[in-house]
């Protein structure tokens, strides 16, 4: 890392960062909105993490009765809903909100006020969901909320209604954000930034936005139909109707949602690995093609969540084959990342450590996905702890590790200061060990027949070993929580006391490193014309050439 003299801190930014609340409430600056998205995401992460810890304590031994089944079901549902809708998606929207306009060389998003409205719908959505806990019980049917269990007859409380309204608002917000991202990327690119020169993170954001734009509306539609069943006496999904139709519609949103949560992470990894390997990304165009392969395939695989509901085997075969095909573009991305680092000069800074943590763990999630895609095998694995392990390897090993990688990578850009390395190392290793300790043995629990979403197990015949394994999981989950605590301490400490980063601490490739850290409200004084997909590298080379010309002293 080059030593850089402390840059003059942009005044306007400092003033807003510690400004009165009114500025935060009314700003249309994509950076401040991005920060608010990220804060909302992290707060949701903490809340949902605490729910998980409570559930882990309840499950640590057979026959515990720390929380009752009704509360357990509410926590299961709230953990899933909060992590998926209010943490990962929201956090990634935030980091994209901050970075995408800067990476394409724009001054702001295309629709700053829409951006503002879209953000403020999210706290409203969260508030409505959590109101359920104070009005007789929140959603208690899992984050998927399958009817007839969510129908009025079996669920007379308001929790389900609040969940429906909450997610409908969330869906509208997501559609707003997606429109905004696509317009920004299409219309506001810097001179010379052709589509073939977009950073891969921006490409990932394009594919994510397209996905959310397409599947956000079906989500809202299916929730509205469910609400009609509940309040207006229709029979779309009741016992007299077609309960499985809900699953089809829900998973048409639900599966692409997995990719909405993972594609931006893929984008970040595609930014981080080349920078710290000192090599360009291997196969830029295949990386982009793979992204769109995933977008296309992810909308044709939804029924693999439903292999036990009793479909025609040829329909099941279609969804099985489509699901397996997703392994191909994902595999291409994996191999290209490895080829990018291969024979490079790889510096294992913290972002790179998290990127490699992602590669090492997401691989397991990908491989277990192939087992699950096989219809016959899935009849054993479906709705068991194997699925819980798989989805956490995908979403924690995938999304959370990439979020940490992205945060360690871009924190200096956002705050002007580096995150503390010692705390960061502890964060990484406790996270890596805690994560694997928590979720690796969940595979075997599921293989032995432990269903997910059960409040307790009797530990009796055929379950003798479950208590031991569950204790290991619970202890590891607390190590995981400790790791997140270290991270929070690091953020709080470093944003004031961290080492000054300078504008370009990592010798990055994309335009965000061309401006100051933190960037001024208008992002750039001027953007040099973009001549390749690594514009910052060109700018740095230009500066070095200019320095050589300006320095007449002999070498």
């Amino acid at each position: 890392m080059a030593t850089v003299a402390a840059p003059p801190r942009p005044k306007a930014y400092d003033q807003t960062f510690f400004a009165p609340v009114s500025i935060w409430l009314t700003t249309t600056d994509h950076k401040l909105i991005g920060i608010m998205y990220m804060f909302t995401g992290i707060a949701s992460f903490i809340v949902a993490g605490i729910f998980a810890l409570i559930m882990r304590v309840q499950l640590s031994q057979p026959n515990l009765n720390i929380i009752n089944a009704e509360l357990y079901n509410q926590l299961v549902s709230a953990h899933g809903t909060t992590m998926i809708f209010f943490f990962v998606t929201i956090f990634l929207t935030g980091i994209a909100n901050y970075m995408v306009p800067i990476m394409v060389g724009a001054r702001d998003m295309a629709f700053p006020r829409l951006n503002l409205l879209g953000f403020w719908l999210i706290p409203m959505s969260i508030f409505i969901y959590y109101a359920g806990f104070f009005t007789g019980g929140a959603l208690n049917a899992g984050w998927t909320g399958y009817p007839p269990l969510t129908e009025l007859k079996y669920n007379p409380g308001t929790g389900v209604d609040l969940w429906v309204f909450s997610l409908a608002i969330w869906g509208v917000s997501g559609i707003m954000a997606s429109t905004n991202f696509l317009t920004t990327i299409v219309a506001l690119r810097a001179p010379g930034m052709k589509l073939t020169r977009l950073p891969l993170f921006v490409w990932a954001q394009i594919s994510t936005s397209i996905l959310l734009l397409i599947v956000g509306s079906p989500l809202v539609a299916v929730l509205v139909l469910l609400e009609f069943d509940r309040q207006f006496g229709t029979h779309f999904f009741t016992t007299d109707g077609r309960p499985v139709l809900f699953q089809h519609l829900f998973w048409f949103f639900g599966h692409p949602e997995v990719y909405i949560m993972i594609l931006p992470g893929f984008g970040m990894i595609s930014e981080i690995i080349p920078v710290f390997s000192k090599k360009p990304i291997f196969g830029y165009s295949t990386m982009v093609a793979a992204l769109f392969g995933i977008v296309f395939l992810s909308m044709a695989v939804w029924a693999h969540h439903m292999f036990t509901v009793g479909m025609n085997i040829y329909v099941e075969t279609f969804f099985m084959v489509m699901t397996m095909l997703i392994a191909v573009p994902t595999g291409i991305k994996f191999f290209n990342w490895i080829a990018t680092a291969w024979s490079g000069s790889v510096e294992f800074t913290l972002p790179m450590k998290f990127a490699f943590g992602f590669l090492a763990t997401f691989l397991i999630g990908g491989i277990t996905g192939v087992y699950l895609s096989s219809v016959p095998v899935d009849t054993q694995l479906h709705q068991s702890y194997y699925v819980v392990a798989h989805l956490h390897y995908v979403l924690f090993g995938g999304a959370v590790f990439t979020i940490f990688a992205g945060l360690y990578y871009w924190f200096p850009k956002i705050t002007g200061r580096l995150l503390n390395t010692t705390l960061g190392e502890w964060n990484f290793w406790t996270l890596f060990v805690g994560f694997n300790g928590t979720f690796l043995v969940m595979h075997t629990l599921g293989l032995e027949g432990m269903p997910r979403r059960i409040v307790t197990y009797n530990g009796g015949y055929g379950e003798e070993g479950w208590g031991t394994v569950n204790v290991i999981i619970t202890i590891s989950s607390f190590l995981l929580a400790f790791s997140v605590l270290l991270f929070l301490i690091n953020v709080i400490w470093s944003h004031r006391n961290g080492e000054l980063a300078g504008d370009d601490p990592w010798e990055g490739n994309s335009l965000e490193w061309a401006t100051t850290s933190p960037p001024p409200p208008y992002n750039f004084d001027q953007v040099a014309p973009v001549r390749s997909f690594m514009p910052m590298r060109d700018i740095r080379a230009g500066r070095m050439a200019a320095a050589v010309v300006a320095d007449p002293s002999p070498t």
Binding site: N65, N68, E70, N73, G137, Y146, P148, Y154, T239, R242, P243, V244, K278, F282, S285, V309, G310, I313, E316, T317, M320, L325, A327, V328, G331, I332, F335, N336, I338, W342, S343, G344, S345, V346, L363, V370, Y371, S374, P376, D378, T379, Q380, H382, Q383, W429, V433, V441, L445, L447, E448, G449, P451, Y457, N458, G460, Y461, G462, E463, W466, V469
Partner: protein, 299 residues
């Protein structure tokens, strides 16, 4: 030819670049992993109940056993890919890290390689093609034909909040299993039994891992599966689809008995029918479902 001194060998090529603290952590990770493996090894011999077996249940019904087979076949490419990729990551960590590179080293600036990229597109296609064909064959063998074939016995399983009702045909016997104190579904050994699953309220899923995969019980239509138990014994299972506050109490027991014992059991059921179904299990808002151990093992 110069011989490196012993200390130089011990220090390795990097010398001062070593990071003892990280190595310690890495070593700790390896130790934890080794401990986990050591923990797992005895479990491999003792199938069932260890909580740490890496295989599918080795089921005692031919269709369940076929799933076990298929899982093992998928595991071969899965393990190869897993080991290969993780090894590649380790090679990068060990050989290509900046601290082992000479100062000022500029790596080759590859932008891609069409042939290599085609290769690692086609190889996964072939692998998943094989897995797909194997899965489809299994799907045709065990998920359609046997279900429709002439069976020796039919059992209709009806899920309700929170328990199961078993209706036997042609024997005309009914067994109701309510909540945690699972009443066993008694079946004769070596008999092809067709199972029809239904629900009378919300969606449930009937799952006995050591016999066969799960089948959902959905209100509005029937699903079918079959078992042909090959061993006398007791098999546990439980509902696999979240169905309300009593979900975890929807325990399942299947008791496989000899043909003679089964006949005797049917006679006894006909003279002394089990109590009529008490379906009304209230959804307690605050009531805890205290789980007590299932009936003791007899296997």
């Amino acid at each position: 030819m110069t011989h490196p001194t012993k200390s130089a060998v011990l220090r390795g090529p990097r010398g001062k670049h070593g990071l003892p603290r990280l190595r310690l952590l890495a070593a700790a990770t390896v130790l934890v992993a080794a401990a986990a493996v050591a923990f797992a090894l005895p479990a491999l011999a003792d199938q069932g109940g260890s909580g740490i077996s890496p295989f599918l249940p080795q089921a005692d019904s031919p269709n369940g056993r076929n799933l076990w087979n298929l899982y093992n076949w998928i595991s071969i490419p899965a393990i190869v890919i897993f080991v290969g990729v993780e090894a590649a990551l380790l090679v990068i960590i060990v050989r290509f890290r900046r601290s082992v590179r000479p100062p000022g080293f500029v790596p080759p600036q590859w932008h891609g390689h069409p042939v290599i990229e085609v290769v690692w597109t086609v190889i996964p296609l072939i692998v998943i093609g094989i897995i797909g064909v194997l899965s489809f064959v299994e799907l045709q063998n065990d998920f359609t034909k046997r279900t429709d074939a002439q069976t020796q016995m039919d059992i209709t399983i009806t899920g309700f909040q929170f328990g199961w009702r078993y209706d036997y045909q042609p024997d005309g016997v009914q067994v109701v299993s309510n909540g945690n104190q699972a009443t066993p579904m008694v079946v004769p050994v070596d008999t092809l039994i067709r199972i029809r699953t239904q629900s009378q309220d919300v969606i449930h899923s009937w799952w006995v891992p050591y016999l066969m995969g799960k089948t959902d019980a959905v209100p509005g239509y029937d699903n079918y599966t079959w078992i042909q138990p090959q061993k006398v014994g007791l098999y546990r299972g439980e509902c696999a689809e979240l169905c309300g506050a009593g979900h975890s109490t929807m325990q399942i027991l299947v008791k496989v008995v000899s043909q003679d014992d089964y006949r005797a059991w049917v006679q006894q059921q006909k003279t002394q029918p089990s109590p009529s179904p008490s379906v009304k299990v209230s959804k307690t808002a605050s009531g805890a479902f205290t789980a007590s151990p299932s009936p003791s093992p007899s296997k």
